[in-house]
Amino acid sequence: MQLGLKSIRVSAAIVLLAVSGVTWAEGGPATAPSTSPASQPTTTPTTAPTTQPVVRYVPPQVVPRPPHSHAPVASPNTVEELETIQAQVEKVVPTLMSATVGISVGAAQGSGVIVSADGYILTAGHVSDDPNRECTLIFPDGKRVKGITLGANHIVDSGMIKITDKPGPGGWPFVQMGTSNDLQLGEWAIALGHPGGYRVGRPPVVRLGRITHNVFGATATISTDNTLVGGDSGGPLFDLAGHLIGINSRIAPSTSLNMHVPVDSFVAEWDKLAHSEQWGPKPTDSPRFNVPSPPKMGVGVDELPNNAGLKLTRVDVGSPADKAGLRVGDEVFKINNQPVRNTNEMLQILLQQRAGNVINIYIRRPEAEDQMLRVKLAGATKAPGQK
């Protein structure tokens, strides 16, 4: 796809980390955030002459960081120092995992972390996306609970979800929130998440790295060399004490450049997020996410070397291609007298067509003469959950 290719060329571009990425599903009941101890809303009368009291949500208490010099943390250079780090990571990780969840919302999958006993979950804005949608939260042991998406700040990519199922006595497992504005460069950090989405039998995946940048302001970002990939989005980043300092968000080509939303952004905007407000430009507002779908043939293709055409790698049963007699391994080199040298050229041709049109597709098949088959195109199928 032309625009898809463009996205590859932007090599330094930041890639969002939800698994099936863009989902537009809407619906689900608009449930008001419930109130319970850890995140008690306070009711204050407004000065304006209105009967509606203003509910203000406040974040759970954060654990302040011990005072430090603000100088970059020195690199360990002995086995003993590395052993100390290892012992600390091994010690805190089991507790941190128990509050780390997989998130399934619409067709997208990501990660998140519970920060209060009553089930407030911090995640990435592009995971929770539109407010008031039903979602499923998956615990490391496979247990599933229901939740609802709350607000999202798409500028920094922060998002919030609330578990709607009732917890057992003692509430949901949760982690302590720390602070992020005072992170030191070189400080060690633990990232958890579900790369590729939640997988049965695989607990949240541990990555260890260091804080390499801490950018402040309205579009604050932490970067680390904790490697992340699609599905990690919304997963937590902790300091070695096990306090939440950030939420996984996006990556650049280098494995040592991974971006996280600072936890301070959540604290500062807690009330808005808990009130299901959504603001800032969504990544999905970008034109490259809004590509028209060509009519469907029902094939998968690989490009042949040297612009020699396309090889079919998949033919869907009962699809227009199947009905026309196309087979896996066929090499397409021409459609309707226009040469097809690569994916882009095929898409350009298909985008000019509409469902119901018949196209002439020219193929090469091993040990056979080149031949022309006629394919009657079907309507574009939308991914499940797409608007």
């Binding site: 607990p203 302001g217 499940p384």
Partner: protein, 447 residues
């Protein structure tokens, strides 16, 4: 977010904001709460975009001393893995470096089988740099392990240790052959598990009622061969009711390839039981997942379907697979078996290999006649579908690497300049480094 907020910022802060702008919206400069009353001029926007781009470049390379790859840490791991590096060898096929190998006994080397490709043309590089013939004597398909025999007398075997509790967070280092440094290091990400899974060959989506609807069926897969059709609703597998898509995915993941399964489907008003034989999951993900996973380097051709593995976060290349991983004590706790994603490398536990070794030597695992494909990016490329980004070829990757290198050089310069600006700013204002944060909550002010 208002652009005007950048005006009052200091030189350093403005570059910080520009970085953040670049990170938040690499797409275009946009306003959260509508465009401001007075629109900044095109020149201002262009200038900000330029700064944002420059700052993004500056982020490409972190300052070395505060990164995981710092010199100090590297030296420690070089030291703890020095013994294992004596037992690490380089393996070539037709002269091309394909894998590392671990010397487990005199004359015997364990490595990753599928990476070799042609079992008849394997050579080992000796300490003096010569190539000597290496004979593949056993292949264990479940683990993708090969045992190789060489007629060399100077090979130093290393003991495979088998600690009982390998927990996430434990450091592991991957040495290169002695004198060639370190391939990398990281921590255990996931404890021992199996990555085998059953494969059906359908694309699934929830129908209006949230049930498991077949969106499309791939030909030449178990589902395609058994006659499952698009729009069928899968209601149960092996009498286990399937109520949503995730549940079916999880169930299949818990099954092994080669197993028989009865799939109950609803087709229109008919209910059918369809018998299938689950296949091996092909090494193919969505183009998007592959694109992200190859951000950071090539992957092994076979990277799934292992019977027992540790997962760790060391960044390795496919040719650095096959050698040992060691803990902080220098004990060999496993042998790398796959580079399987941007965040994951896999290793077969040491005790698994120790248990297999006698049978491998005894000829109980004959080498298969079929030659397994090696890692070429073409082989790992998934199906390209319309509307989905195209996976990269080797040339694109090489071009990107060059691009990143160039950016890194620029980045160093930019970082240096930023530091300079910051220092002079602090001098002129007498500011401490901490409160450079505009409008950010400090712990003391938090509720």
């Amino acid at each position: 977010m208002k652009l005007s907020s950048t005006r009052k910022s200091s030189a350093f802060a403005s570059s910080a904001v520009a970085v953040a702008l670049a990170l938040a919206c690499t797409r275009t400069l946009t306003w959260a709460d509508g465009p401001p009353a007075t629109r900044p001029s095109a020149a201002t926007i262009a200038e900000l975009n330029r700064k944002a781009l420059a700052a993004t470049r500056a982020l490409i390379r972190a300052p070395k001393e505060t990164s995981k790859a710092s010199e100090g840490v590297r030296k420690v791991f070089l030291q703890v893995s020095s013994l294992a590096s004596e037992s690490t060898v380089e393996l070539r096929v037709n002269g091309t470096i394909k894998a590392l190998g671990t010397v487990v006994e005199p004359q015997y080397i364990v490595t990753k089988a599928s990476e070799l490709g042609d079992f008849n043309k394997v050579t080992m590089t000796t300490k003096s740099g010569q190539q000597i013939a290496a004979k593949v004597v056993a292949v264990v398909e479940d683990h993708d392990l090969a045992l190789i025999k060489v007629d060399a007398t100077d090979l130093v075997p290393i003991k495979l240790e088998a600690p009982k509790d390998i927990k996430p967070g434990m450091w592991v280092a991957t040495p290169m052959p002695s004198g060639s440094g370190l391939a990398g290091y990281g921590v255990i990400s996931v404890g021992r598990r199996s990555t085998t899974a059953g494969y059906l060959g359908v694309r699934l989506g929830p129908d209006e009622a949230g049930k498991v609807k077949v969106v499309s069926v791939d030909k030449e897969t178990p589902a395609g061969r058994a006659g499952i059709q698009a729009d069928d609703v899968i209601t149960a597998v092996n009498q286990v009711p399937m109520t949503d898509v995730q549940q079916l995915r999880d169930y299949l993941a818990s099954q092994a390839s080669g197993q028989h399964a009865t799939v109950m489907i609803q087709r229109g008003d008919k209910s059918l039981n369809i018998e299938v034989v689950l296949a091996k999951r092909p090494t193919e993900e969505s183009a998007r997942a592959t694109y992200q996973n190859t951000m950071g380097g090539e992957l092994s051709a076979r990277r799934m379907d292992f019977k027992a593995v540790y997962q760790h976060d060391t960044v390795l290349s496919p040719a650095q697979i096959g050698g040992p991983i060691v803990d902080l004590k220098g004990h060999v706790v496993g042998i790398n078996i796959a580079r399987s994603g941007r965040v994951e490398s896999l290793a077969v536990p040491a005790d698994v290999i120790m248990a297999l070794l006698p049978d491998m030597k005894d000829g109980k695992f004959p080498i298969p006649a079929k030659v397994v494909p090696t890692t070429q990016l073409a082989a790992t490329q998934p199906t390209t579908r319309p509307g989905v980004s195209r996976p990269m070829d080797n040339e694109t990757i090489a071009a990107r690497k060059r691009q990143i290198e160039a950016m890194e050089t620029q980045a160093k310069e930019l970082m240096e300049r930023a530091r300079h600006e910051r220092e002079s700013l602090m001098k002129s204002t007498g500011m401490d480094s901490a409160p450079l944060v505009p409008g950010m909550l400090k712990p003391t002010t938090q509720p």
